[in-house]
């Protein structure tokens, strides 16, 4: 590790104290005078048309303030989710909302509302829609295909024979929606020493963030103030304004703390705009407390996969070709994307020589889908791990070794357009993990103990982990303090704080002299990235770096202007800027800031670069004259894919009689460039591990195909892992080699931290069962018991959204 003063060191992010004392405020903790409470009435039918709404009895009730229906809010183009709809496409689709003086009155009123609906055909498993004669989840079609030729609804059907063959594990022959490839896949398979095919299912499931997507809004002086549960801050603004039908400058978003997001709160979601529309209609502040059940309904859930893969290996274990076909369960309101990302992940993580991807996003009348931690990459990570083990076994190669043979490195070309990577050290990660885990010893230890058998697993995770082109904005004030303005958002990763330290690092500030401004769009925040996609670490060390470099340039120019010489004659240290050849001649940071205010112009933000975003421009204009302003767009060079990588080693002990397993040890290794914030990295790696454990064993959507009813709308049935479902200790470390395209060498990690975990577990489960591949997540105890006792599974092959 380098000799940075702040970067790479632990610190206490400023919001932690509020979290342990209960003072941290989340969206629902705010109350304003005159506020009323809204409740949502959601669809009891999986697919229907609302033909009549009678709210007369509800409106006549004392304490009822108003009703908001789909007619009061903008229509959106299908399949996008509307704020409210008269064409519900899943059970739980919001139809209307009631506002009242208390929540209880609102609920009493809701019970008095009569809604007539005309039921439409519905479907909860993509294959039941795809098969000839199957229902379409939407009247417009059953597929939403995105392709270069154009995107839109289509109706695609397969013959019964085609569906049956797919279920039987054969290569699908039905029509697909999109395709990409590189290399000669047919030749690769022909050349391969070992070729095999595997069908797979990964069931979608809910985010279930601890804080539901509650929002409160009111209008004041022509602006809509929204207290929301937002994963990102500045990134929300354009979308929220669009949903509210106003300009960006007419919206204020307050989101200082957010109780988790995991992809469900990346951009403004429709329901976040409901209180704003309702408030406008009834001229009262409106809070919509989203219940746990509604939090499930609102979705953005993980896309489910039903797929088939053919892999071709050379005798030395290298992957010559990978041919993958994925049907995506995209619910009723999404357009897909996970599947292609999964294909990309295969290309990157396993460095496949030739590849073909085919995908088909199929609509179902299930909860809306969107991004969830490693969308696509983490599903395929779970699928691939036992396949790699199977190849290793058949080729008599060590499971670590076969992964190293195929590991992406600095020279790899990835994705269909064969792009470079900024840097990649999966080899090193695997070595480090194997050593920490003591792989060599463990792989030879006894496996069976009574009804229990041990299984070892190795998993690899990947997500692109960086973005560029966002803005940095900092300020030094005459009191000698550094103010970092960040619009990253705060869902709990602390990257808003760890990336802010990049500016302090550049300018040699003590952390105690820094203040972070955030959490409210009126706090003069810059245009920053989404707090998602593992990007904020890479993106905002860069933005804060360029803003700080801009400030440093200005400091030197002011010093030269004030004290003579050239800007390059000056350097900084000890909160001073001084001549390199005469340290006595200098100015304090405070004095420089005061001088910047006197000089005006670009020094104190009266002028600013043309290329910064309008949101940043407004913030700079508000701050002009308050200090020395550093502001810049991240135009640093960037080329190639920015990979966030991780691997995990796990040992489980599976009880063959109960189907349950205990995780005896878990080692996760991050390969995310240089470590920016060790404790924060450990949190991401360990939290990601828990997510992987949930996906591997517990979490899934369950829908009754007879009525479209979801079984697991609460925490209990969703099966979020508890303290006792994960190991007491989780070990993590990092490769810690710098990425050349980040000023501090850092890349992101949040999503790969989970992918490596679920993959290590599917690998270990297979290992415990002598190489049996379920080809499915989650693997629940009933599946293990059925397998061990030679019984058929209860579900059809490739069935999804089932127990």
């Amino acid at each position: 590790m380098s000799d940075y003063r702040l970067v790479g060191k632990d610190f206490t992010p400023p919001d932690v104290t509020g979290k342990v004392t209960g003072k941290a405020k989340y969206a629902e903790d705010f109350r304003v005078d005159g506020m009323v409470f809204a409740r949502m009435y959601t669809s009891p039918m999986a697919h229907a048309r609302v033909t009549n709404i009678d709210t007369s009895a509800a409106e006549a009730m004392d304490g009822v303030v108003g009703i908001l229906t789909a007619d009061d809010v903008p229509e959106v183009e299908a399949p996008n989710a509307a704020i409210l709809t008269n064409s519900p496409a899943y059970i739980g689709d919001p139809i209307l909302a009631v506002a009242a003086e208390t929540e209880q009155i609102a609920e009493n009123a809701m019970a008095a509302i009569k809604i007539d609906m005309e039921p439409l055909p519905f479907v909860t498993d993509p294959l039941d829609s795809l098969i000839e004669g199957g229902a379409n989840a939407r009247e417009e079609g059953n597929v939403y295909a995105r392709s270069q030729e154009g995107s839109g609804f289509r109706t695609i059907k397969w013959s019964k024979e085609q569906v049956d063959e797919f279920r039987a594990g054969k290569e699908p022959t039905g029509e697909f929606g999109s395709e990409w490839s590189y290399g000669d896949i047919d030749k690769a398979m022909a050349d391969a020493e070992l070729v095999f095919e595997e069908p797979f299912v990964t069931t979608g499931y809910a985010h279930m963030s601890m804080e539901p997507r509650t929002a409160m809004a009111y209008w004041e002086n022509g602006k809509c103030y929204v207290h929301g549960s937002a994963q990102s801050q500045s990134f929300w603004m354009p979308g929220l304004a669009r949903l509210l039908g106003v300009e960006v400058e007419e919206v204020v978003l307050i989101s200082e703390n957010t109780g988790g997001g995991f992809g469900s709160k990346i951009g403004a979601y429709p329901i976040a705009a409901l209180p704003g529309w309702f408030s406008k209609k009834i001229n009262r502040p409106v809070q919509l407390r989203v219940t746990r059940e509604q939090e499930y309904y609102m979705g953005s859930a993980r896309v489910g996969f039903q797929g088939w893969i053919r892999m071709g290996f050379a005798a030395d274990g290298s992957i010559l070709g990978s041919d993958v076909f994925i049907i995506e369960d995209i619910g009723a309101n999404a357009t897909g994307g996970d599947a292609s990302s999964a294909g990309g992940a295969i290309s990157l993580v396993y460095n496949a020589g030739a590849m073909r991807f085919r995908g088909l996003p199929v609509l179902t009348n299930t909860t809306p889908r969107g991004a969830q931690r490693g969308p696509g990459q983490n599903q395929i990570a779970a699928v691939m791990a036992p396949i790699m083990d199977k190849a290793a076994k058949q080729l008599s190669i060590d499971p670590v070794e076969i992964r190293k043979i195929n590991a992406t490195n600095n020279d790899s070309l990835v994705y269909s357009d064969r792009r470079t990577v900024t840097s990649a050290y999966m080899d090193e990660a695997l070595d480090k993990g194997a050593e920490m885990f003591d792989w060599e010893r463990r792989k030879n230890q006894p496996r069976k103990n009574g009804s229990k058998v041990r299984g070892l697993g190795i998993g690899q995770g990947y997500h692109s982990a960086g973005a560029t082109g966002f803005d940095g904005l900092i300020r030094i004030t005459p009191d000698g303090k550094l103010h970092v303005h960040t619009g990253v958002g705060n869902l709990g990763t602390y990257s808003y704080a760890s990336t802010s330290r990049a500016a302090a690092e550049v300018l040699n500030f003590d952390w105690e002299d820094c203040e972070i401004h955030r959490g409210n769009s009126e706090n003069n925040l810059p245009w920053n990235s989404y707090q998602a996609g593992s990007v904020s670490t890479f993106a905002h060390t860069r933005t804060n770096y360029v803003a700080a470099m801009d400030a440093l340039r200005k400091m030197k120019a002011i010093a030269a202007d004030t004290m003579g010489g050239e800007p390059d004659d000056y350097e900084i240290d000890g909160k001073r800027i001084f001549r390199s050849d005469n340290a006595a001649q200098g100015m304090s940071y405070g004095a420089i800031a005061a001088r910047a205010i006197q000089l005006g112009g670009e020094y104190s933000g009266q002028t600013y670069p043309d290329d910064i975003n309008a949101i940043t421009k407004r913030s700079v204009e508000n701050l002009a004259g308050t200090g020395l302003v550093g502001v810049a767009k991240d135009n640093l060079p960037q080329e190639g894919v920015i990979p966030g990588l991780a691997c995990a080693f796990v040992e489980i002990e599976m009880d063959l009689e109960t189907g349950k397993y205990e995780i005896l040890d878990y080692v996760g290794i991050a390969e995310c460039g240089s470590v920016l914030f060790p404790a924060g990295l450990a949190q991401q790696m360990k939290g990601g591990a828990v997510w992987g454990m949930g996906m591997a064993a517990l979490e899934r959507h369950v829908y009754d195909p007879q009525n479209g009813l979801p079984a697991n709308i609460g925490y209990h049935q969703c099966g979020i892992p508890s303290y006792l479902d994960v190991p007491s200790v989780t070990r993590t470390s990092a490769v810690d080699l710098p990425d050349p395209q980040n000023p501090f060498g850092a890349r992101g990690i949040g999503e790969p931290a989970m992918g490596c975990s679920v993959a290590a577990l599917t690998s270990a489960i297979s290992d415990a069962l002598d190489g049996h591949i379920f080809g499915r997540t989650p693997v629940s105890p009933d599946m293990v018991v059925n397998h061990v006792t030679g019984r058929d599974q209860s579900f059809l092959p490739l069935q999804t959204n089932n127990f």
Binding site: T42, E657, D704
Partner: protein, 329 residues
Amino acid sequence: MASFDVMPDVQLYQPVELDDALNLADELGDEGWLLGGGQDTYGWLKDRAKQPRAMIDLNGIEALHGISETNDGIEIGAATTLREIIRDERVNRDYSLLVEAAGRVASPQIRNVGTLGGNLSQDTRCWYYRRGLDCYRAGGNICYANGPESMNREHAVIGASRCVAVSPSDTATALVALEATMVARSVKGERTIAAEDFFVGPDTHITQMTSLKAGEILTAVRIPAKWAGKKFYFEKVADRDVWDFALVSIAVAMSMDGDTIGDSRFVCGGVACTPHRLTNVERAVRGKSLSEESAEAVAPMASEGTKPLNYNHFKLPLMENLVRRAMRG
């Protein structure tokens, strides 16, 4: 459907004398809701799936609390919390089976307030029924869980009759194994019910899980000395090790004569609407020792008479395996 989430209007009575509670229960009949720890109450009410007129909070009644010795074993007040039972020295010494079962209930916070009476009287977790659908158990004339494609992994494999829901109580299996007696009081007086008869299946009464009548209050559970300090085995297999209900559980009490089993009680949870006694296994193990050999001999009997639904035939080998494990000693 409106998704409700706040407590609706409902009256609350907090009597401190049992007689007052009995009078209230009598007067309110079906419209009264007996409140123990409340952990299987507020969800029903918040969802508006059950709409009683009043709750009768039993926690303030001193007589319903505590664990005492009787001429023949112990008596546990129905309002005694699971936490108190788990920590009770005598119960730990003599009836550790109950401690183990109670210790696997839900979560620490729920065990802190959940009462024995409440745990025994709780309603089934059939997810269709819990959604407020108009099924048999809710007074309708359909079972949603037993359709050709119903998601019924957690449902019954034996003893179903129209309704296929299962008994969710962990302590129920233990108490049936321990041959406990339930004490029920009403304004008409007291009656005692064998634990096995306390729990009723849909063939007896499709809308309730116990034989308690409207106006009756479960006041105590008596556990006979017969099983004190005997050989016990408890195991619960659930998806998660917190909160979740048993996929299958087993509670076993065995009276050992040296190495040989005499009387025994084998009771499975999660397989039927009531705790399910494996009487065939009990007969077969008499005279056997605890060994791998006897485990193999009797285990297959555990699933005799079962009739699995579409998604739950895994419960059959699981029942067998749990018997197998109990028999290994």
